[in-house]
């Protein structure tokens, strides 16, 4: 379980998907602060405190990353993040609708903690989130 004050960064461009994550967290009674970035660049700016964004400090305990993002894809974001010495240790869980093996392989290349294909059913998604968060240490 996450500590109460630890933050989560969600990188997602789709509003419904953001809502899905928010509702799933709420259903699982996870009340940790949730930062939301709509693109990979925005997320990087927030993590580094650049471009008018307030730096998330301390860094988020968990990053939930969608792969299909505008401007900078999730994989590109991962490459950027892992090459940044200050940020390369961050924990990341990929949340994606892509079940493509190449996407999966690319993600694990950058040492992500988990890879979750967004299930069609919200209940299933909620359960999957619960499992992940419950097992988090």
């Amino acid at each position: 379980m996450l500590n109460r004050d630890e933050t989560i960064l969600l990188i997602e461009d789709d509003r419904v998907d953001i809502m899905t994550v928010q509702r799933a967290l709420k259903k699982n009674k996870v009340s940790n602060p949730l930062h939301i970035a709509r693109t990979g660049l925005e997320a990087l700016s927030m993590l580094r405190g650049e471009g008018g964004f307030e730096r998330i400090s301390p860094p988020p305990a968990l990053i939930l990353l969608d792969l299909n993002l505008p401007k900078m894809s999730g994989i590109e974001f991962l490459r950027e993040l892992r090459s940044d010495p200050e940020l390369k240790e961050l924990h990341i869980i990929v949340l994606t609708s892509s079940n493509e093996p190449k996407d999966r392989a690319a993600a694990f290349e950058y040492d992500v903690d988990d890879y979750i294909v967004k299930p069609h059913s919200f209940d299933e998604f909620t359960r999957a989130m619960a499992t992940i968060l419950a097992l988090w240490d």
Binding site: S97, S98, H120
Partner: protein, 648 residues
Amino acid sequence: MKRRVTERVLARLASWASLEKVQVAKSIWWGYFPVALVAMIGVLLTLAAFIQSLGWERGQVEIAFREAAQDRILVVQRELKHSLGIVQDIASFFEASEVVDRREFRKFVGPPLKRQAGINALEWVPVVLAENRSAFIREAQQSFPPFRITEDDLSGKLIESRDRPVYYPVLYIQPYQNNKEALGFNVGANPIVSTLLGEAELTQRLQVSPGFPLMDETGEKTGVMVAVPVFFKNEKQEDDPALASPGIRGFAIGIFSIGDIVERALESLRSGGVDLHFYQGSSTGDGQLIYTHLSRMREGRAPDTEADISEITYSQRISVGAQQWEVVCNPAADKFQAETWGSWIILFGGIAFTVLLITYVVTLVGRARQVRLEVEERTSQLWEAVQALNREVVDRKSAEQELQNLNETLEHRVAYRTAEAERRAQYLEQFAYVTSHDLKAPLRAVSNLAQWIQEDLADKLDDASREQLALLRDRVRRMHDLIEGLLEYSRVGKTADSENQVDIRELVDEIIDSLSPPNGFTIKIKGEMPTMHVDRLQLGQVFSNLISNSLKHHGGDKGKIRVKGESYGDVYQFSVCDDGKGIAPEYHNKVFMMFQVLESSDFESSTGIGLALVKKIVEEHGGTIRLESAVGEGACFYFTWPKNRSSE
């Protein structure tokens, strides 16, 4: 361009070939040069041999003739010497004796007269001076009473000699019978005899008179008189020769028939076909022909003047007393003709041989020419063949080039098509990706939103709205499944990297587990379930789809499903059979087509992709699939899977 160069080369080679032909034609005529040479040499040699042989034969004949002539001349010469020598003998006889009487003379000349031919008369003519005439006559009349000195008068009548300073009366003469009138005849009265005697006295040796006609019983002959002077003893040497006349005692005289002597001489030789002509002096000029001996081979035929002017003659000078005679010999008409047949044989034989040689050489040359022509013909044939071959090579090369071009074109086309196919596959992949992400995401959103509305308005919604929302979510769900099915279908054959050794029985067990069949259904695995090298995921999909199909479409609460494996040659045949309601035969083909759903869409969730997917997977892996079923008798799906198929 390449081809034009080749043609030019061929044309040049062809022109060389025609040039060669002209040279060959010329040299073929040159081939007859040996024939001409052989003919020339043959004819020349033959002619040379002929002429040489002819000359040699003529020479032989001439030699033979000359030898024959010489023999005859020698014999005649000896005979003449012998015959005329009698006169000398008589002279010697008188010189040796003071007195020779008539009887002694007769005895002395008797044997020669009998032995030798051609002696007409042998005489002793003393020289009687005028003052001794009467004494001489008296002495002569003692042994021969009617003796007197006579001479011819102008009319030719024998008369008593007139008074002369010197008389030359014939005192003795033998044979007497034919010469009675000559006894006492003063031979000095005859001018010819007088000259002869004068010469004899002057030269003191045997002299021969010119020929004169001589009459005897056989006719007219040519005779000569031979005189030898006899001098008184011991006066001959002392006296001046110019004043010899007083010392002269007399003359031994012989009258000879030359012809008889010659004939007698030649009797000893076989007839040889030689005519002899005797000339006193030279045969030309002032010489006198005194005798001609015609060859006995003529057998009395008269000499043919023309034939006797022979090319062959032989002449020889002989001495008769103090005279020089010439004997001219020529062959009798058909004698000593050169026997030229040998030469003619040489001529004709040589020509015949030459002709044979020419024929042979012509044959040789002809054969050589034929061989040459044949060689040339063969060469030209070969040349044509080579040309044909060259053309063919050129054709082949161009054909090859064409083929290569075609191949390249084909390769290009194949490459292009392949690239296009790959591009399309990529496009399809892209399409599938887009579908999976861009279609599924909104659907998920719709589904979530519907659920949240349902949850948030749980208290306010009536049953109808609640059911509608549930239907909405169900249809969204079905659409999601369709999209998933399409994705899977499009992925078949693209994931070839996952082949492993798979225990098929284990795989099927897992699938059955995951499908969690409802109570009342039993699934049994039978037959030979091997462990083989396969794409686990795809073979799993096949089993999964077929088994779930059987469960879904069984149509009853209870049922038995049997999964079976069998080995047939190089394939395994797997089957999934159920005891459900079955499928009517008219639908057997349709079940494998996409989106063909045999039941109402309200009933169960069925995408219509499952069997199409199965068929595609099986066929992609080189197998076949078929259905055996009838209404009410269950359904059996059979599919084959190759045993050892190299991964693709």
